[in-house]
Symmetry: D2
């Protein structure tokens, strides 16, 4: 019933937020859209370096987004070590490497699961190339999302495709070294409309189990069937030691890729509650928090800033949950009291707490406002003229 | 329990199929895809005339697809009368005119519902231009689908947008003459992800009621929420005299735009049963049967042929329903017997009946096979080289 | 970014809350469950008077729930005038009358849409009896929810059922007098699993239009397909002058009938924003705010109190929206700014504001806590022994 | 394109059907309904023996339903060996034992996952009792479905509940002997509306993996989120050696429990195609085919007969698929040809083939018709008077 979080839970929340790291994706700074239209925006980066510049702005204003995920080949460069130095100078780190085996004409009927072995070999070669990139960038994580699937019943053999998938995954896993990890993402549908080869967490989990310790599941919050309880999956995977990463975004219908927390902030809170419950906020657990979203109609940089802030606020609320009171009410079977404990944290306005923390870090308490006042948007709109704007195809 | 439909229901079915007309869309012959990738196919038309050629092939093989829908501006030409003559010579007619107010950068936040009045004026001007085109082509129907909507709560005022929509619709309706009609399509989501300005049949119906007699609802079978009973909507609209047209396609998840009948042939049958029950197969009712689908991974011309065949077969089955036996079982409250009557028709293999009818019309009994044997696909793949392949953007 | 709402929006919020009235349903105080099990709870009312006592407790603690909806025949008594006096003495009013035409064996295949005219006559007689009850209780609203529908394709004729429905509705409408209204509820599915005769708002709207001014749509927030944008429907119906009432509850999957705001508090807020935008908080608009939920595992009286509080809090947040700033951002097409205005209100902790208001009304600032401290629960558990506990069947 | 299946695929189909065994559930013969109403039907069994009599009728007419699943405690008797003899004399076998830990008041907050250890012990004791029953009946399979879950966020700890579940499952698994198996069913929602403790196949699979060889997943076709591709799950589980059983039924919305094949016969066909593809029709694979449905508005015995026939027909179609042609088209990447091969089998009217097979077995070619002509329904309606009709609660 109080607006300000009492200590010591406020302290817990502050401590948790101080170590929270959210990775932004290079492609979020480029143009995106739907199959109907990609609306171009002024100031969009033309190069991976310009994407890094934008990511650095997001980090400088939020203090919590110190790395940028790469997408190969969209972010392919000749010299990744040089790119890493560029990023470092800008104030961020190169993060997760995302493979892309969905945009060559060869991949119309699949990449690693294609009936044609030549296409499969090509796709696997790309995945292995991505590990080469990781060796150079020092990235820990390889994120694999496969658009592979079929549009029509009978189009291909579901089981054969699983065999082909397993074979490719094993080859990639074999190639990992050091602390490198393989993150296997799943998605219910789109771009394939009948089967996806990795449609749900169960499929990803089963393959990761078979691969070994360093294969983990990546949960994209927009990739589930209607009604799916995502926090249950999070809790389950953490219990099994198999939650590797989040791709955060939000959705009303399908894979809408809206700003995280925009469609259902309560769900985001519940997810962060389970993350905390399962120890996932402890960096040692190795859960990577990444954004994966599209800013089709809104400006991209403030869209990323707002998203980082939304994850922070949801995390703050999760950390404010009175765990002891919750446990007591649960043990007593007092349904309303237990729900009340959770809602008490959710209903708290944590913006003052988070703002305070920013000030403590020497940041503006209002990152979106600070961005608007910074003149950065005007400057890039003015300067980034000519060349080809980055988008999903480039 | 018999595989061959007994007369007189077989006769009814044959008579119904003889008058069934299915319009194919010009854009189905061009390339299409998802936001992830549009896979180009060999032989795809470069011009509207080549699209007409392909539509003419579909008609020549099925005998039931005598018109082609245009999409403006994708199919914009200088001289529509000339285009109409070209089509006639090829053996088809120019059909429904589809407006496009979703691909200019101006339309990022909407077309006729845009907060900016200048954009609204531009969009309305395009809609009126489409009626001009109809005057020249002699088309009866203007099909309006609006991508208008919002991605985020608060982005725009839902009610103001309805007012703007109503104003634009009224202006277009006012402009119609002769037997011209306005068909208002609805869609649950995509490309907008929070609100669509015409999300469901109720919204379309309410606007059409307000407009008047010549405004009708267009039912796209892929544009509903999961679990929606489409045949109920069809029955309801026919009862209210407001069913104007179908955009046929099929889907497993969202607006997948697969070949009609591919995902749920039983649903297609149930829809055609309600069409028949409501008199919609009588051309006087004015229900237009159109395809609106994308052949992302399969060949486009056989994809259209197969779709036309699927509508024919579903219609044949619907016409085989023993209406009298059904009515008796319904009146008696015999649930299983009533369901059995329907299923008896559905379980019948109507392919022989439809094949017979084709032979009667001087056609090959197997249109897809005939297409494959015709050499047309090889010829267009060979000849249609250079230029720019048609797609959603052109 | 401020935790406390600044005046004058705080004043607006307070004023709005002062006139907000939420009706609780008599059946929420009785036992409820699923088809698998109804778990009995101690202290559950045995009679309609005991239900009234419980509703009076909810009102005395919240100050906002001054009426109780009746369900006929569950709450049938010999003397409704006497019952009204009993309620008045307890501190509440008899509210909406809910008809029940789904629990006689006769209704297996439908009530007013049953193929058997005798069953239809019986059902209609019950509906007319409900208007008689209204005459005696002084209730304004007759709420009609029909479980009518079919489980199997072919089971009955969809269109005939619409004709029968229209006929029954017309007869009931004809019977209304004074300021009495007919509220027509819709529901996607359950208990019928193939068609419901009033499955969506469009169907209810169309029938209400045909009936006339005093027929309005009732929106039960749990009765939609996944992904349905309920606030759009609310905005649309208010614009059309056809929103009559809400049945508030919440759901994760189907018609879960959970405490309102429990599953998606942000959705409840968005709904209340549209209610406010469309003038629906003005009692003159005639929108009735009712709860319709089941407390299967939680205690019923605190469940109702919590629900009333949740509606109050969502309404407070809706009233805190800076309408002018919102309009400016919308007009400017500033997507993020517009969304921010909305989220600023949503993220505000309004519990202090609502608590303050309660104190102003002489109430405990914490109604659930006050209930727990009151000893009422213990007393009814002790006293209400013997007899038959109220439930959906009695 | 031919209505009659050519040999040798016809032979394959006939051979497959001859070994297909479908188990009917004892509870399908009793009354069932929704939370709104259970409509009683004349002739419904009062005892487990009468249920067995009905199951024997279904078997005698279909030749494919030789066993009946029991539900404990609904079918609890003193002497199971005696019951087994009764069944044998009637012409059927006692099949799968289904545990019930959802209908005692103790189970309001869960059974084996209840926060209260005393309730957990009680639930486990029941599960172990079920294995005792199996020892007596000679049943191979114990089917476990848990209604356990929560209705509200925070109500209980998701992870703790998994620990408790794992503990109970291990204890039951430990108790199995001989060829006994544990089948773990999953369900998305209902009766719990926020979390179910076994909500999806992934959860069931993970627990079964941990338990060992004799723990298998049970797929109830009505227990998935909208849009879930069930045949993918079937293919995946068969590949992993973890598909134990089906609970067949069908649904349009939620767990509607309609007659199998009634809502989406094409889906049933696709499922049977994957069963066949994965070897699941070979009895050695150990996949149990069971019905689990409710006949709320239709007669129960013909409802079961129709369901058995629907599974037979879907299986026949699956067996008619030209596997070689399919493989060729798939390998060639010919999407339409591959789909055509599948659809060719689906579009075949297999009723003559199945009827022929019945005649070969000395059965009436039309089991539903034969039932209607048998006079059995009239007889049980006349004789089964007095006593308490079986239902979900007894």
């Amino acid at each position: 019933m109080t607006a300000l979080a009492p200590d010591p839970r406020g302290d817990t929340a502050r401590a948790g937020l101080r170590t929270l790291r959210i990775e932004t994706p290079s492609w979020a700074y480029g143009n995106s859209g739907t199959r109907f239209k990609v609306f171009a925006q002024a100031g969009v980066p033309r190069t991976v370096r310009e994407k890094i510049d934008d990511a650095a702005v997001v980090h400088s204003l939020t203090g919590s987004a110190p790395s940028i995920a790469l997408h190969i080949p969209w972010d392919r460069v000749d010299d990744y070590a040089d790119l890493a130095r560029y990023a470092e100078a800008a104030g961020v780190r190169l993060g997760t490497v995302n493979a892309n085996v969905f945009q060559d004409d060869d991949y119309k009927l699949g990449s690693v699961t294609n009936p044609d072995p030549a296409v499969r070999r090509k796709a696997l070669a790309h995945l292995l190339e991505c590990v080469d990139v990781m060796d150079e960038t020092g990235s820990r994580d390889l994120k694999l999302w496969f658009s592979d699937g079929t549009n029509y019943p009978g189009q291909d053999d579901i089981r054969d495709r699983q065999d082909r998938l397993a074979e490719a995954l094993a080859a990639v896993y074999e190639r990992l070294s050091g602390d490198q990890r393989l993150l296997l993402e799943y998605k219910l549908f789109e771009p394939a409309f009948y089967t996806m080869d990795v449609p749900d967490w169960g499929t990803s989990f089963a393959h990761c189990l078979e691969l070994g310790e360093r294969a983990k599941v990546c949960v994209d919050t927009g990739h589930h069937a209607p009604g799916t309880n995502i926090e249950f999956i999070v809790a389950f995977l953490l219990r099994a030691g198999k939650l590797g990463a989040f791709d955060f975004n939000s959705r009303f219908y399908a894979d809408d890729d809206l700003m995280v927390g925009a469609a259902d902030p309560f769900q985001l809170f519940r997810i962060m509650c389970e993350v905390d419950r399962g120890g996932g906020l402890d960096p040692a657990t190795g859960v990577a928090f990444m954004l994966d979203q599209c800013h089709n109609v809104e400006q991209k940089i403030p869209g990323q800033i707002r998203s980082v802030c939304n994850v922070q606020e949801a995390t703050a609320k999760a950390l404010l949950v009175d765990r002891e009171a919750l446990r007591t009410a649960q043990r007593d079977g007092d349904v309303i009291a237990a729900n009340d404990v959770l809602m008490d944290a959710y209903n708290t306005d944590v913006r003052p707490l988070v703002a305070e923390l920013r000030v403590e870090q020497g940041l503006d308490p209002d990152p979106v406002g600070a961005y608007r006042r910074s003149g950065y948007q005007d400057r890039i709109a003015r300067e980034r003229v000519g060349g080809e704007q980055a988008g999903w195809g480039a």
